[in-house]
Subunit: 438 residues, 2 copies
Amino acid sequence: MSSVAPTFQCINCSTRVPLDQAVYACPTCGHLLEVHIDPEVFRARGPEEWKALFDQRLAGQPGPDGSGVWRFREWVLPGLPVDDIVTLGEGGSALTRSPRLNEHLGIDLLTKQCGHTLSGSFKDLGMTVLISHVNRLRKLGHDIPAVACASTGDTSAALAAYGAAAGIRTLVLLPTGKVSAAQLVQPLSHGARVLAIETDFDGCMVHVQKLCGEGNVYLANSKNSLRIEGQKTVAFEICQGLRWKLPDWVVIPGGNLGNVSALARGFEQLRLAGITDRIPRIMCAQASAADPLYNSYEHDFAPLVPQQAQDTMANAIRIGNPVSFPKAIHALKASAGVVTSVTEQELAEAAREADAHGFFLCPHTAVAYGGIKQGIKSGLISKSQQVVVVSTAHGLKFTEFKNHCAADTIPSVELPEPYRPIHVEDDLAQVLNAALGE
Amino acid sequence: MSSVAPTFQCINCSTRVPLDQAVYACPTCGHLLEVHIDPEVFRARGPEEWKALFDQRLAGQPGPDGSGVWRFREWVLPGLPVDDIVTLGEGGSALTRSPRLNEHLGIDLLTKQCGHTLSGSFKDLGMTVLISHVNRLRKLGHDIPAVACASTGDTSAALAAYGAAAGIRTLVLLPTGKVSAAQLVQPLSHGARVLAIETDFDGCMVHVQKLCGEGNVYLANSKNSLRIEGQKTVAFEICQGLRWKLPDWVVIPGGNLGNVSALARGFEQLRLAGITDRIPRIMCAQASAADPLYNSYEHDFAPLVPQQAQDTMANAIRIGNPVSFPKAIHALKASAGVVTSVTEQELAEAAREADAHGFFLCPHTAVAYGGIKQGIKSGLISKSQQVVVVSTAHGLKFTEFKNHCAADTIPSVELPEPYRPIHVEDDLAQVLNAALGE
C-alpha cells in the first residue's frame, strides 16, 4: 500500500506521533490521541470490491479471516503484518431479532451480541488490536516487559486473555480488599500477575502510569486509542450483517464513552470507502446514577461537569468523569446523536422484558434498552424504524444482577413479582396443577 | 422438494413414526429414535452448489441465514417453513487456534467455541430445532401447553431461552433443596416455571414423563432425537470453517453421549452430499469418575455396564448410564473412533495449560483436552495432525471450577502453585518489583 502509515494524532492540536511510540496523550497539549489513517486507505478499492473481499472472509474460519476485527484488517492498523496478529476469534457475533418483542415495541430492534465471546464482553475487540500491536513492537526489538491496566472488571479479563494468547506478561492493579473472587477468576486463570495494592482505585491509576513510565510497561487502559481501532469494527459488522445497509439508529450504553466515538468512527470510515452515504443516528444511554454526558447534551453540549457517580447496577458505566468525553461529543454531533438517562427502575424493567423474550441482558445493555423504550415513548424513534442495540457483555458475567432482578431485590426498584421456584409435593396431581395452572 | 418428509425412525427395528407425533421411544420395541431424512435430500444439489449456498449465508446476519443451525436448513428438518423457525443467532461460533499452544503440543489444534452463545452452551443448537418444531406443531393446532425438562444445568437454560423467544411456556422440574441460585438464574430470568418437587432427580424424571403423557407437555430431555438435528450442525460448521476440508480428529467430551452420535451423523451427511469423501476420527473423552463408554471400548465395545458415577468437577457428564450409548457405539465404529478416560488431575492440568494460552475452559472441555494430551503421548494422534476440539460450554458458567482450579483447591488434585494476588504496599519500588520481578 503506497499510503502513509498510520500515526497517533491529537484530536485538539493535530500533533502526530509515530505509532511505535508508547504515548497515551498529546506530547504538545496533553489532549486525547486518536489513530490517524490516511483516507486514501479507504479509497484503495471500490465499494463493491471491498464488500466482496470482506464477504469472502467467513466467521468460523481459523485465523485473522475468521475474526470480526481482522476480517477488516486493511482498515485496522493497515500495514501490520498478518503474522503478528493475536486473535481469539473475536467479533463475528450474532445480530439477533425477537419478532415477538418487536411486535410489542412496534420497531425493528436487532441486538448485536458483542458479549458472546471469549472473555464475555466487547473489550476483546479492542484488546486484540492493542496486544497485536505490542506483539509487533516486541518483535521489532522494543523493550516492553508487560502490559498493564487498573481495572476490576471486563478490561482486565480481556487483557489477560490476549496476553496469554500472545505470551506477553499482563499486570492487573487493584486496591487491596476491594476485590471479589468473581472479579479475579478470569485474569488469574489466564495467568495475569494481579497486584493488590494498599491504596484506592485512583492510587492504582497513579501506579499504573508510573509503571508505564519508569518500567516501560505498556498501558491498556482506555486512554490508549489503539483499543478504539478494534471497537470501531462493530460498525463494520453491523453494516455487513445488514447486507451493507445501515439501520436508522444504533444504541449503546455509555460510561467512559470510548464506545460512542468508536461507533461513529467506524460508520465514518464506511462512508469514506463509498459503501454507505450516511451515518446512522447514535443514541448513548447513560445510567441516571452517572450521566454527565446527558447533562451536557441537555444543555446544548455544554462543557463537561464531572459528577460524583452514585450507586447503580450498571457498575461498569458508573463513571462521573469520562475519559473520552470530547470524542463522544464529536461523534454525537456528527451523527445527529442523542443521549438518554435511564433510572435503575427503567433498567430493571427493560432487563425483565428482554429476558422474557429470549435475551439475557447485562445491566449495561439493559440501560441501552431502557433508552430505546424512552425513545419510542417520546416519539424520537418512529414506528417501524430499524434500531440496532450493541450488547456490551454477556449476562453470565453479572449473575448478582440477574439474581437481584429475578428475586426483585434491587435497592429502590419495584418489579411486579419475584421469580421463584414453585414448591410442590411428590404427587402427580399437584405437579400437573403447578405446571399447567394459571 | 419432491423427497419424502422426515420421520422418526427406530435405530433398532426401523419402525417409522410421523414427525408430528410426540414420541420419544419406539412404539414397537422401545429403543431410541432418530430423525430419518431421505438421502435424496442431500443429493438434491451438487456439492459445489451446496457450498456456494451455505457460504453466501453469513454469520452475523439477522434471522435463519445468520444462524449456524438454520444456514443448513435444507438438511435440518427439511420442509419446516422458514417462518416457523425460532432462532437466537445460535452457532456461527469461532474456530480458535493458539499458535503458541500448538507449538508446545506439536499438533494443529483448533477449538470450536460452542459456548460463545446466548445460554453459554452447545445446548442452544439442539433447542432451536426442538422449539421451532413445537412452534410449528402449535401453529398446526396441536395442543401443546408447555415444553419441559428435568435438569439443573445447561439444558434448562437453553430450553427457557428458546421458549421465551417463541412465547411457549417452559417447565423445569427439580428436586427440592438440590438447587443453587446460580443454576436457577437463567431459567428464572427467561420466565420458565420452575417446579421444586419433594423427591430426588429420578423422581423428577418420572414426573416429567407423566406430564408429557397426561398433560400433553412436550419433552425436551435428551431422549428427544430432535435435538440431535441441531447438534449435528457442529460438523457442518467445522467443515465449512476449514473451507470444506476435514480435520484428522474431532474430540468431544462424553456423558449422555448424544453429542458423539450428532457429530458422526453430521459428517455422514456431508459425505452423502458429496462434499467430503471420508469421516474424521472421533475421540470421545470421558471423566474417569463416569466412564462406562470407555469400559465398553476397552473391551471391544462390550455391552453397557452401568456405573455408579463418582464425583467429578465435570458434573454435566457425571452420568453412569448414558441414554445414547447405542448411538455412540455406532458413531465410533463408523469413524474409527476411540474413547479416553481422563482423571480429575488431568482435567485440571489441561484447564490450567489451555487457559494460560488464551482459552477459558469449562470442566467438560478440559476433559476433552486431557484426552488429546493422552492421545499425543501415546502416539495415537501423530505430530502435525489437525485436531478440532468441541468446546461445549463457556467457562463463565463454571466459576466455582475456575476458582478451584486457580486456587488449587480441587479435591485429590495437586497443581504446581495456587494463583493468587500479590499484596504490596502503596510504594512505587515495591510495585515495580512485584510487577517486573521473577
